[in-house]
């Protein structure tokens, strides 16, 4: 009868001598941002309901989102969104069977990290200076 054979796998001899490879950090960041975005949808719902509840309800929402804590959450949310989107596109590239060479994985991970930070900063600069959002 056919049985699945489990082969012995090699173990790393040096667990304490270890640098986190960037692709691994980016992989974990994709999961962390996904979970953060999941709970962050509560704020999107609050925002949409607040708009519909008239000027008073909306004022309560804006006073929260304009506080430093609210701004921090909004900033974090936009970063998580962009990071997760770039990481997701990376996953979709992998799904086509491409991008698995070591140098390609390294490059994709770097692009995700640098891309998400710069796009987020750009977004906030545009938000503040073009749309004058500091109110």
């Amino acid at each position: 009868m056919a049985e699945a054979k489990v082969r012995e796998r090699p173990l790393s001899p040096h667990l304490q001598i270890y640098r986190w490879p960037l692709p691994m950090a980016m992989s974990i960041a994709h999961r962390v941002t996904g979970v953060a975005l999941y709970f962050g949808t509560v704020f999107i719902v609050w925002w949409l309901l607040a708009v519909g509840s008239g000027p008073g309800g909306y004022a309560r929402f804006t006073s929260f989102i304009n506080s430093w804590f609210g701004r921090l959450i909004l900033f974090g949310y936009t970063w998580a969104l962009i990071h997760h989107m770039l990481g997701g596109i990376r996953h979709l590239i992998w799904d086509t069977g491409r991008g698995f060479e070591p140098n390609e994985r390294e490059w994709l991970a770097l692009a995700t990290a640098v891309g998400s930070v710069s796009l987020t900063l750009l977004l906030w600069i545009v938000g503040y200076f073009v749309f004058g959002g500091a109110r």
Partner: protein, 128 residues
Amino acid sequence: MKKDFRTPLARVGGLGSAKSGTGHFWWQRMTAVANVPLVIAFVVILVSLFGRNQAAVQQILGTPLVAVIMLLFIGSITYHMRLGMQIVIEDYVHGEIARPFLIMTNTFFTIAVALAAAYAILKLSFGV
């Protein structure tokens, strides 16, 4: 005597840990692809509403194009995040009670988010 005469491959055939095989994976990818333009559109809408007063925000979100984009965005991300969170739960939670409990809670939460958001968007379009 062996209780199960199937080969190991036959035993898992078509069954992922969610007991629904590739459907889960496929929908995760499908919504991921849909999410890309929808998230970009959402971010553009969000930034262009930055600093506007309630009346303006209500008026812009209530226009047909923006409202439909928002509904598509909400539909796609909530389905996507339910599938995604289920994988996370299945990876870390193994308790006989805890796992189905959290998987159910995940579904309840995402449906509540989806319907509350859809209700709010439609209300902006149709008025009270």
